[in-house]
Symmetry: C2
Subunit: 231 residues, 2 copies
């Protein structure tokens, strides 16, 4: 099945943002290492990479999976759940990296808007995941309850996704402001790379939300969000 | 006509956020003055107050006006346009205050993600306003074109609104990070006031978007976004 143009745009943006965040953390910030004993900055670098590539980009793929994947409803549903599970797990590891960096560097935890929004988002993501599993997988609700829950699952899922995008934007701004307060040039290449990554993430989020909320056109392969698996 | 509960929630959040931003800028930051010759901080303070109360809160009222106001379609439409006009004007003055503060304090312009997203947002808001005026007021498009444009007007309007919310969140984080870099306590009362204002703005935005996108229920007074004035 041909991937729709809007989804191709979303994937192109996702790949570009992933390349830029790696360029930032590897080329400009010296690489990633969750266990670095001396250079604590390398522990921090795990955070933006995992939150963007693991949490947001895999989450975006999970959100689009029903509309984008060519397989049966059941297979797409399984991929949707597995992608969200991996995204949630990598999100947890990414947040662990931020706390580890803070603790080992003697920096306060949970004082910033980024941390509040970010932690709130992953909690809501976890609740959304748990409700999704129990309603649609195991033990699974009755077909009537599933049909009633589905629009709310989609709606609240998109709210959590937009919150994740907001948390990411706040994170880019916060880290860059710290770096600029420590002497990084305001118009330096690194600053431009970070800001352009953040802009790509906004465009990625907009394309994903517009793609999945757009009314389905003639596409026989699309099962869409209105289809509920009937056991 | 009784104001619907969801809109009451939105208005309650708007009033609370307005009170908090005034508490911040007047009580903690010393007040507002666009022409202050000595205390440049007072020029800056005009920016968050006008952007939140003028731009975002008036914009929220404008967005909700079709669903919330008890009058005829034509009157509601006029209020919708006038509120957006005032919001856009106050937004311009608010942005002027930020530039004036930067220029008179020798601070670089337009290097931060907040400034990029904010300036992009007000440009899109202006384009949206201009397209709205020319399509639905003067000279006004044909009924067929109006009917085709309306869902896009609503859709792109909400995208611009979410971008405005994002810009506001980035602004709160940026200013607070600057203040904390200059010695403000990370868990101080002022920091909490700013972060709670930012959280209220997220909740305000969510309630407005959910309210206007919710399917209309039995309410004979609501004209809704699907109604197009036929000349």
């Amino acid at each position: 099945m041909a991937v729709p143009a809007a989804a191709k745009v979303a994937r192109g943006l996702a790949v570009s943002a992933a390349v830029l965040v790696l360029l930032w953390c590897v080329h400009f910030r010296g690489g990633l290492s969750l266990g670095s004993p001396t250079n604590k900055g390398l522990i921090f670098n795990v955070h933006p990479v995992l939150m963007l590539i693991g949490f947001i980009i895999l989450g975006s793929e999970a959100i689009m999976s029903y509309k984008i994947l060519p397989w049966s409803h059941d297979t797409n549903k399984m991929v949707h759940m597995l992608l969200h599970s991996v995204a949630l797990f990598l999100g947890f590891v990414g947040i662990y990296a931020a706390f580890k960096f803070h603790n080992e560097s003697g920096i306060d935890n949970l004082y910033s808007l980024h941390s509040w929004v970010g932690l709130g988002t992953i909690c809501l993501y976890g609740i959304q995941w748990l409700l999704g599993i129990t309603t649609f997988f195991f033990p699974g609700a009755s077909p009537t309850v599933r049909r009633r829950m589905l629009p709310w699952h989609v709606r609240s899922g998109l709210v959590v996704y937009v919150l994740a995008l907001l948390a990411a934007e706040l994170g880019f701004l916060e880290k860059l402001t710290f770096l600029q307060a420590s002497g990084l040039g305001r118009y330096s290449s690194e600053a431009l790379v970070v800001n352009f990554t953040a802009l790509l993430v906004i465009l990625l989020g907009a394309s994903v939300v517009l793609y999945v909320t757009a009314p389905t056109m003639h596409n026989e392969h699309t099962h869409g969000y209105s289809a509920v698996h009937k056991p």
